[in-house]
Subunit: 480 residues, 2 copies
């Protein structure tokens, strides 16, 4: 196999015009979107829906923590394609993979992974996903994206629930009745989600998603219950009692739904929860809360699914945000996508599905992404980037607290885990204005929920980048 | 941009060990799965679920119409990764794309396409998907895979249905009520599917899938109706009256469901149908049938979705199998994936969704696939490969009819469109045995439904490949 472990200028040159250096600081020459972005937007609308497009990006010119937009504006990117770029744009060691035959053949001769996998599939998985598996989990299932990850995690929970109930695989009666979508083959099972959660945009996943109305409106949904999620006040030490009460109320609500649904014979088979409700507004909860949540699930025979699609992959100061909780045992399932480059989920051994075609999909993931992820994981470990997110995140957190002190009427509820930091503005209009002004000064940072600014930088985000970001935020807040 | 329009031996050599030639004929040296495949299967099970794995493939050694398995067996592949490889393994002109900077940056700096598209996104779409758009359709929406394509096609139908009903975008009352999954924001709408259909494995898509119980069992489903689909007898000319009655019964059933659901205030918003029910058993229907089906949908205000995930991309003798029907106007939506390399759907202009984030997904498709598809489309057009599927398909069809004459007690119901040919065996055991014996002789062909053998070759499948295939089938049938 032809594999290069270090970037070679030669290889980079070979592929032409790809940037190989990060700018020292942002530089903005036009409005954003600028004239070229606007023109490209018009062109795109002629062939493809584009109502969510913000601006166009020149990916060949982007590098590291900086993206260069279609108008040549260089922006410090602390949002990174909705948290999905692990080690920055055009990392030279990733660009060098273009001459790896595994990468090329996987791209042009894509396998149906569930039927006819590549001979190196197990190795690729072992070197990438398994080498960073959450403690206590040793098996993984690949899928195409985060929605597919959550859909199949929930399917696997349903299969487990019915298998345990029956004491074995489906009976002929199950197989017959499910073709008419009748009991017992098509069970009336529920999934419990949380107010403010986001788990994807398929019909099934929208049924447990409650972040924003625009995602859900006009789409029929499964009649599944939804529980309150804690809404903390910050700083935590000042609101200990209030926040504890938030935990208790949420746990009480979860328990209530478990019991009620059991009575209605629509048992909750799975509970799905984000370590940080991201799209919903960067809402955190305490380690103790998640311990109790896992305990409740165990008591009620409910599969405990932790959705790390946005929080996983190293940005939280751990490879997986739930590691911080120090649970007595692993969650039953941990789902991922985004920074993991491929969708999928880790699951406990006892959840393994033994019958063919129950968890399946033609592509079932994309092996080129595993070739890239193998190298990404090598770099993350070698360069100690998870440790870096803890350190840089702590620095960013402190800088945001300084902002809060300087702008007490504008900035509140500073919070974070690793470099997944956030803070609130007094209202949506001010939040949106802040994002727009910061962009003008060269900082790309995200919004979420109604009031919140969220950081989702790459793992290579350094203290110097955090300092530029907070400097720009300070400048921008003065304009509000 | 560095783009090579012809394969260069140099470039191929550069990437090492990738095969550049097709074997003259199959060669099988071991059982399939052979000892190495079996060992790799054990290894894979240690890290990943693998109950559907058939054998492992050495993709670096596979070329054209031939795959080489982990044990060095060279198989003529007329199944092509469940119909998903358009122009064979490791096409040299696709391998050469590895040095195209668009391909590399798209792979290592993957955009959130809905928010921050590449500057060349519209061009890539125009050169690939739009250049092969079905007649009458000018807009496309990319997604990750076939399931995501169908999910979002159906979401778009729901949005259209409610928008027309309201006469505009969602009202505050819709937005408020949908957060509690209550009327009017969360409507009780239905999708009508067909007995025997397959549209994906998400919770939503399983609700309109009725191909096999093992996909559906233990998974809760939306309470959507299902209509009878024609089941023809062959040869068609001999069973004209019977088959016409099949059409009528199906159309009657469709109409019945439209009316019943309207009465129940669970209106059918969309109907989804495959041109050839593939996974379900390669069931075809007449041009007249589909004309009537479209008419019925129009009369009842139902979005008419044609699922071309398996049939699209050129294998049917047209780029899209539904072109054969000669409809008076385009279907409302045509979904695709597999041979299109990327999931997505074409839609009529009036279905465009104008509000942001209603049809959205972080990745929303994979631009590396568009770079490859652009070249695939160029090659298909240049080499007249769609015409080739019509010609080779007709030859294959005739050869299968010869088989039927030689083995009248074994082979029946020969049918096909382009190279998407199929025939039936008397029972599942004989069908499975035929597939196994043919594999031993070096032919990889697929099964579907209970009794059916289906061909799903690449577009580069030639008469000589069809002859080898039918020769092996003849040999194999003798062993039954």
């Amino acid at each position: 196999m032809l594999r290069s472990s270090r970037p070679s200028i030669n290889l980079i040159r070979q592929v032409g015009t790809i940037a190989i250096q990060e700018p020292a600081q942002p530089s903005v020459k036009t409005d954003i979107p600028g004239p070229r972005s606007k023109l490209l937007h018009e062109n795109l609308k002629r062939v493809h829906q584009a109502p969510s497009v913000k601006f166009f990006v020149d990916y060949e010119s982007s590098f590291g923590n900086y993206l260069v937009d279609a108008d040549g504006n260089a922006l410090l990117d602390s949002f990174m394609q909705i948290s999905s770029i692990p080690i920055g744009y055009n990392h030279p060691e990733l660009v060098a993979l273009h001459s790896d035959p595994r990468f090329i053949t996987a791209a042009v001769s894509r396998p149906a992974l569930g039927n006819f996998p590549r001979t190196d599939f197990a190795d690729l998985i072992a070197n990438s996903l398994i080498s960073i598996a959450p403690p206590g989990l040793r098996h993984v299932q690949t899928m195409m994206d985060g929605t597919g990850a959550n859909e199949n995690a929930i399917k696997q929970s349903f299969i487990r629930y019915q298998t345990l109930k029956r004491g074995g695989p489906p009976t002929p009666k199950d197989l017959e009745s499910c073709m008419n979508q009748e009991l017992p083959g098509t069970p009336k099972l529920s999934v419990l989600g949380f107010q403010g959660s986001f788990h994807g945009r398929s019909l099934g996943m929208l049924s447990v998603t409650r972040s924003k109305a625009i995602h859900k409106v006009d789409i029929p949904a499964f009649d599944w219950p939804i529980a309150k999620f804690p809404r903390y006040k910050y700083p935590l030490v000042k609101h200990e009692n209030y926040n504890k009460k938030q935990d208790e109320e949420s746990l009480e609500d979860v328990k209530k739904h478990f019991i009620a649904r059991k009575k209605e014979k629509r048992d909750v088979a799975a509970l799905i929860v984000e370590p940080i409700q991201s799209e919903g507004g960067d809402f955190h909860a305490s380690n103790e809360y998640f311990h109790e949540l896992q305990k409740l699930c165990k008591e009620h025979g409910v599969t405990f699914i932790v959705d790390e699609v946005q929080t996983g992959g190293g940005a939280s100061g751990h490879f997986w945000a739930h590691e911080k909780w120090g649970l007595p045992e692993a969650p039953d399932i941990v789902t991922f996508s985004k920074k993991a480059l491929i969708g999928g989920y880790y699951y406990k051994d006892e959840l393994t599905v033994n019958e063919p075609y129950r968890i399946f999909n033609t592509w079932m993931g994309e092996p080129t992404k595993l070739v890239i992820l193998e190298k990404v994981v090598e770099i993350i470990k070698r360069d100690r980037l998870v440790e870096q997110t803890a350190k840089v995140g702590a620095h960013l957190y402190k800088s945001l607290e300084d902002l809060e002190r300087h702008f007490p009427n504008l900035v509140s509820n500073v919070r974070g885990q690793g470099n997944l930091c956030a803070f609130d503005l007094p209202d949506a209009a001010k939040r949106d204005k802040l994002l727009a002004v910061a962009l003008k000064y060269g900082l790309h940072v995200g919004g979420c929920g109604d009031l919140t600014v969220r950081f989702r930088p790459a793992l290579i985000f350094e203290q110097k980048h955090a300092d530029i970001a907070t400097e720009i935020l300070a400048q921008s807040l003065k304009k509000l």
